[in-house]
């Protein structure tokens, strides 16, 4: 208890903690106004997340893309770039995995590996292209990202519809079983939840993110460029290359999300009229996690768990899932503007002042 208190005293932990509590409380207030039962709602939420091994598994499945997306946005942020194009990179990653997964016939592990790699590569190149246009033509990456999201969507639709469509459906054909990255035994253990190797890759990605940025010379370059392009240039770094590299890595993270969804969850790609939006949630996750590896992991877990749990809320308490989106919004808001929390909770303010 003492330790817990000590941990909480430090502002970096206290603010998100209070933010989560306040966010949930606000959600409860809105539920009461809307005539719902918040206690039942949150009970259903919790029991949806932890209710069964299936639910735990599926909650993890929801968390994986969010963490990856947070990493994708985060590494760009750290390099001074704002990548709102993760959605497009996801699409390209999925397309890449789908192409290899459906068009080639290879032995199991090799096939899956190649599919993942190709998807990651496509995602990476898609990101790198944004970086390249920024580095060479000075075009703001925000607009290029937006345009690239749409373009990716239609490129993918084009390929699926013309080359890989499953007759009579609105989706591609299935990937070959050899390309699957699902973990059958684990899924069975988890009551059929869609478990896949993406989980392991996600953990590796988190570690990579942390080590690469903080411990390697390449990460040092990324951070230097992120903080001051001029100083980086003065110090002999090839700034355009670093920008392209950062966006490539960001794109690889995005692309991996796409490969996980195709090879581990759905086994096909649906022709859908919009991108997934996971890339935008990634912005929230990245910021909530302060763009650090551990932070992104934790915030991804939080956002993912709440998102997954919200379905239980509508089943168990008839509460519309939008409420949870609001709660997520509130939480990010309070974390981003800690001053608000401090204004409302002067005791927090006092404590954190002493800390500073």
């Amino acid at each position: 208890m003492d330790k817990l208190y000590k941990g909480l005293k430090s502002e970096s932990l206290l603010v998100p903690f209070v933010a989560i509590i306040v966010g949930l409380l606000l959600g409860a207030i809105i539920m009461i106004i809307g005539g719902y039962d918040p206690i039942l709602a949150y009970q259903s939420l919790i029991s949806k997340i932890f209710g069964s091994s299936y639910d735990i598994g599926e909650a993890i499945r929801t968390i994986i893309p969010l963490v990856m997306s947070g990493l994708a946005v985060g590494i760009a942020f750290r390099s001074g770039l704002f990548n709102i194009g993760v959605d497009g990179q996801i699409v390209m990653g999925a397309l890449g995995a789908l192409i290899i997964g459906t068009q080639l016939s290879l032995p199991p592990i090799l096939h899956a590996t190649l599919s993942v790699l190709f998807g990651a590569l496509l995602g990476g190149l898609w990101g790198a292209l944004i970086g390249y246009i920024k580095a060479k033509r000075g075009i703001n990456e925000v607009i290029t990202s937006i345009m690239f999201n749409f373009i990716a969507l239609y490129i993918s639709q084009f390929f699926i519809r013309l080359f890989m469509a499953q007759a009579g459906t609105q989706r591609s054909e299935m990937i070959k079983e050899s390309a699957s990255i699902q973990i059958g035994w684990l899924s069975q253990l988890m009551g059929g939840a869609r478990m896949h190797w993406g989980f392991v890759l996600m953990i590796l990605a988190v570690i990579f993110y942390s080590v690469y940025l903080n411990k390697t010379k390449w990460g040092y370059e990324l951070r230097a460029v992120g903080q001051s392009q001029h100083a980086a240039f003065y110090a002999g770094m090839k700034v355009p290359n670093v920008v392209v590299r950062a966006m490539f890595i960001s794109g690889v993270f995005g692309g991996l999300i796409g490969t996980f969804e195709v090879l581990g969850v759905f086994k096909y790609v649906a022709i859908s009229s919009t991108t997934s939006g996971i890339g935008f949630d990634g912005i929230a996750v990245a910021i909530l996690g302060g763009n650090t590896a551990l932070g992104v992991l934790l915030s991804g877990i939080l956002v993912g768990a709440l998102t997954y749990g919200s379905q239980g809320m509508s089943f168990g308490a008839d509460v519309p899932g939008e409420i949870i989106r609001m709660v997520i919004g509130f939480i990010i808001f309070f974390v981003a503007a800690p001053g608000i929390v401090k204004t409302f909770f002067p005791s927090v303010k006092k404590k954190s002042k002493k800390e500073a």
């Binding site: 411990k215 903080q227 001029h230 100083a231 003065y234 110090a235 002999g236």
Partner: protein, 511 residues
Amino acid sequence: MTTSDIVLELKGITKRFPGVVANDSISFQLKRGEIHALLGENGAGKSTLMSIVFGLYQPDEGEIYVNGQPVVMDNPNKAIEKGIGMVHQHFKLVEPFTVTENIILGMEPKNGAKIDIKGASKKVKELSEKYGLDVDPSATIDSISVGMQQRVEIIKTLYRGADTLIFDEPTAVLTPQEIGELLEIMRRLVAEGKSIILITHKLKEIMEIADTCTIIRRGKVIESLEVARSNPQELAEKMVGKAVNFKTEKQKATPKDFLLDVKDLVVAGEKGRNAVKQLSFSLRAGEIVGIAGVDGNGQTELIEALTGMRPVQSGDILLEGKSIVNQSPRTISEAGISHIPEDRHKHGLVLDFSVSENAILQTYYQKEMSPNGFINKKAMDELSTRLVKEFDIRTPGIETKVRSMSGGNQQKVIIAREIERNPNVLIAAQPTRGLDVGAIEFVHKQLISQRDQGKGVLLISFELEEILNVADRILVLFDGEVVGETTPETTSDQELGLMMAGKHEGGSMNG
């Protein structure tokens, strides 16, 4: 003396920042029509005090009286209303705006709903004529020189009807000519009945123009004295709290092999025209070559060309006989050139990196610092700890972000890093800008010690005093060309000044 002669009085002003007491119960009086200098080391609390007077910061304790009336200065508007104007150390000008727009900002004359730009321009013209502050009202700020920008700042305060003007290190960024002109302007202002507070690190200027000097050390007022009854030595000692040495001690140079040969160098400037034109010179081991000149005569372009940061149009640069022209900054730095850049915030440092991260900015990728691509934290920390010690960098620790350090200490981080690399050639651009005398002395010593170890040092400075004190040989740069070469022993301020203005009398010789 009646109270009405005191235009501004501060009583017991205290301002605390986390970890520092920037101003410790400061009391201060400004008399009508005087020029009152404020002197103190970097971080002594001068800027903070003036920010309080101008309403940017609120003091934790103490009162401010203007013309004998107590005033709560809670925002700059209040100060402006009370006739106080401030010319900030870092100019507060909106770059894409015109001179007129900057001056009228916040007090725009109107013509219906529209700004009366014509009327405004006229008013600006009038003011500039009255005080001899020549400016072009329709030029944009980014197209005029630093000296001009400062005039705009001065007109801005006058336009707002200021009686009391505060200048925070106004000469740090000016050329000798411009400094002369500024001092002239100040005299004229005082003659018009204005009162002036002048913050400067240059004792010469205080001696030349100030009536009174208040010395601040570590946030406390040490003394207010009449300048006419004092001397630079006394001022400096009171400021630092111990004896100081002005003239940097140095032996005669013993130049050896040629290290750097620049031949017919042509470099393009920002606006398409050539900023460096057919420039030739050389630098030998064991000498300090000073490049004197007014800002904007090709210094920046020359330095950037030498260090690979800007492409060269034609000509050659040889380092120990090998051409390094149009090589990347990395290649050049590896070939043995260190570079203390002109703009420490923009180029020299990653402000949000720690001291130790900044210490490896040039060497992070090398074997010793990052074997197998992983940065060796231990080596990095050892290096920075050693540099902090050897170069007397005042910082709470090596993990401190350099952004929060004082300008002088930031500069020391750069100097330490660049010297530590043990270069053959050290290019030092404006290495002491904005530093106090103690820090300046330190930097000069470092440059000379490099020379004495057989390195070549190229010192680019707008400060004649610095050039005369430190350089062994002086080149004068004008309009992208070397218009004269001389030595400190054989020249004078006047002669250098003439050459810098483009008069070829000092015996023009190229190379």
